[in-house]
């Protein structure tokens, strides 16, 4: 089975349902948005045999699987409940557990398993006012079934329960068309399936590490109402007893929420910097403060150029960026100049700003780590670092001033989630760009002659967290560097040299005589090639490097390296 698919490849998705999923399959296969999906269809109504390893669809090597069932289709006792029979809750949940076991088994065979939460289109009002009463209502049982399924799927790091309710709500009255069911065993209308396609693709993008990481926002009439340079910050529409002001404040709250989740914020605005910054600092209803922004460009220059410069400074790629601006001309300019930047169409009415932001499907990630939640603070520290750099004359003096500490530890249960996340999200300083789930990484590390280390980086400005990962595979006198991954947040401080020093030490102590490095070139990992070319220059090649371990790989003098 192909479970190590690169992010640029087409996904192969096995669709399993107890109803006719043909319409959904067609929409999914035709959808032009990335990532492209090749559909592997299966006969409907045969969920259990199809999900078994010997089921026909598995021969086609899917790398992901969507399982969409009706609750009464997989839980016989729930069907009886729908027929108003008396059924014990434990009996229903027991069947949910059995189904969950089946799904967890499938999760072990794919990169990502998606299940659609259960929904009952024809339930109508159920028991009416008793429908959500524990022990009496069918609606109550259905909620508990979904919760149990969510809990159980949480046992696998690559299994996700998608929220069918949202698709149904978005589709409105067109969500259910009884005739489609009776004639074609299709329980939902096309809009429900279209929403499901979008959510599935957002999830696949997240698994591929292609979730967006930075939102660049405009200021005037985007972050607040009015033009600060004309009316002054005191007259801006923001918060207060005004529906427009409240909408802008809510939009800022939504941005703040995303920021807490690990999405960085930045500003690109055509304004006088002093005036705009004063507005941010002084306006009493500002939800966001300057510390919430990883960077800003507030001047009269071209926004596209400003965004490109700012993104480069933040060591991110343009494919990580979302740009939000109320001005269609600015949106058009950025779309044209920076096609990798995602520029959503933006509503004219500020009342729709919060929902437009919260409805974006570009921030999905397989998990949210502690590092994600602290990312904004880390970037604020990074800004301070660079300000220090501007004041300090030489690079070495600046590095010396940082008081860098690198702690190294072996891959283990506690650091595995973040390690896998780093491996799957990092593009630039990434030797092989291989993408592995937590389970796959753990399994690989357990192989003979293999070791994986993770690196925690901190300095006097703050803790950058687990930002490096490297692995070795020893074969006799040779040690192959398999992974060499460093977050762009800490690149350029010779953490790279520290990591390769560590690998050299460990390989030498294990009896190795040479270190082999084979780079898998991608469109984005030129920084990794450049690093090895620079460090291993005498032995350098385009993508294959060799280091004789009789020669030292020195630890940079400004780094304190210790075991964690």
């Amino acid at each position: 089975m192909n479970r190590q698919m690169g992010a640029a490849d087409r996904h192969r998705c096995l669709l399993v349902a107890d109803f006719n999923l043909g319409n959904f399959a067609g929409l999914l296969g035709n959808d032009p948005e990335e990532p492209k999906v090749e559909v592997i269809g299966t006969p409907y109504g045969q969920v259990v045999p199809v999900l078994a390893p010997e089921g026909g669809g598995w021969r086609e090597a899917p790398d992901c699987c969507l399982v969409w069932t009706r609750p009464e289709g997989v839980c016989e006792s729930f069907g009886r409940l729908l027929a108003e029979e008396q059924v014990e809750l434990e009996a229903v949940l027991g069947e949910v557990d059995e189904f969950a076991e089946l799904l967890l088994d499938v999760a072990g065979r794919v990169k990502g398993l998606f299940a659609a939460a259960w929904w009952t289109p024809f339930l109508h009002r159920g028991y009416g006012m008793l429908d959500l009463r524990p022990g009496e209502g069918v609606g109550d049982v259905l909620l508990r079934m979904n919760l149990r399924l969510a809990d159980r799927l949480g046992e696998a790091d690559n299994a996700y329960l998608l929220d069918t309710r949202k698709w149904v709500e978005t589709a409105g009255p067109a969500a259910f068309q009884p005739k489609l069911w009776y004639m074609g065993k299709i329980p939902f209308g096309q809009q429900v399936f279209a929403e499901a396609v979008r959510d599935l693709k957002a999830g696949l993008n997240g698994l591929d590490g292609r979730g967006r990481k930075l939102i660049v926002v405009d200021l005037d009439d985007t972050l607040w109402g009015g033009i600060v340079g004309e009316v002054g910050w005191e007259q801006l529409k923001l918060g207060g007893h005004d529906h427009v002001g409240e909408a802008f404040a809510d939009f800022q709250r939504a941005l703040k929420g995303l920021n807490r989740r690990g999405i960085l914020l930045a500003i690109a605005s055509k304004n006088e910097e002093r005036v705009a910054l004063e507005g941010i600092a002084q306006h009493p209803e500002m939800v966001l403060s300057l510390d919430d922004f990883a960077g800003w460009r507030i001047d009269w220059e071209d926004k596209a150029q400003n965004i490109a410069d700012m993104v480069a400074e933040l060591n991110l790629g343009l494919q990580s960026v979302v740009f939000i601006d109320d001005n269609p001309a600015e949106r058009s300019r950025v779309r044209e100049a920076l096609p990798e930047v995602f520029v959503p169409e933006w509503p004219a009415d500020p009342a729709l700003y919060p929902s437009a932001l919260l409805g974006l499907r570009c921030f999905d990630a397989p998990r949210v780590s502690v590092e994600d939640r602290q990312r904004s603070r880390m970037y604020a520290a990074e800004r301070q670092r660079w300000e220090t750099k501007r004041r300090v004359p030489s690079l070495q003096e600046w590095l010396d001033s940082l008081e860098l500490k690198v702690e190294v530890e072996e891959l283990g249960a506690a650091n595995l989630p973040r390690a896998a996340q780093l491996l799957n999200r990092t593009n630039q300083m990434n030797l092989s760009t291989r993408r592995l789930s937590e389970g796959e990484l753990r399994q690989w590390a357990e192989g003979s002659g293999r070791q994986v280390w993770v690196f925690h980086v901190s300095d006097r400005f703050g803790d950058s967290g687990l930002t490096g990962l490297a692995s070795l595979e020893r074969r006799g006198k040779e040690a192959q560097v398999v992974d060499f991954v460093l977050s762009c947040r800490v690149m350029g401080r010779q953490i790279e040299e520290t990591m390769i020093h560590h690998l050299g030490q460990r390989a030498g102590k294990a009896g190795g005589e040479r270190l082999l490095v084979e780079l898998v070139p991608t469109a984005k990992n030129a920084p990794c090639r450049d690093f090895f070319f620079r460090v291993f220059q005498e032995e350098g090649g385009e993508s294959r490097f060799v280091w004789e371990l009789e020669r030292d790989l020195p630890l940079p003098s400004h780094v304190e390296l210790r075991k964690r």
Binding site: Q177, K179, Q190
Partner: protein, 96 residues
């Protein structure tokens, strides 16, 4: 716009929706006489269900009335209204 034109518009709209689900070489054309369903038509049974439900829904929405196209005998007839877009337009218009 007369009823026939309105019905034609509804059918074209439904064909656009169905085409979102079909592979490029299976997509339906809107020509009045191009075979739709039957031996020479591209529409399979799933597509026919989608067409029927889509057109019935469109008629209900635009005309505020219901028509029933889901009739086994209607589908099986030699001169089935689902033969072409033109025959379907004619049949649905006759029901209004």
């Amino acid at each position: 716009m007369g009823n026939e034109e309105k019905v034609r518009e509804i059918i074209h709209r439904v064909i656009d929706q169905i085409n979102l689900q079909l592979a490029a070489d299976q997509r339906l054309e809107k020509g009045e006489t191009i075979p739709l369903f039957g031996e020479e038509g591209r529409l399979d049974s799933l597509g026919l269900v989608n067409l029927i439900v889509g057109v019935e829904g469109g008629i209900a929405e635009d005309f505020g009335t219901t028509v029933n196209l889901a009739d086994e005998q209607l589908m099986a007839r030699q001169d089935s209204p689902f033969r072409t877009v033109g025959s379907l337009v004619e049949y649905v218009t006759s029901l209004l």
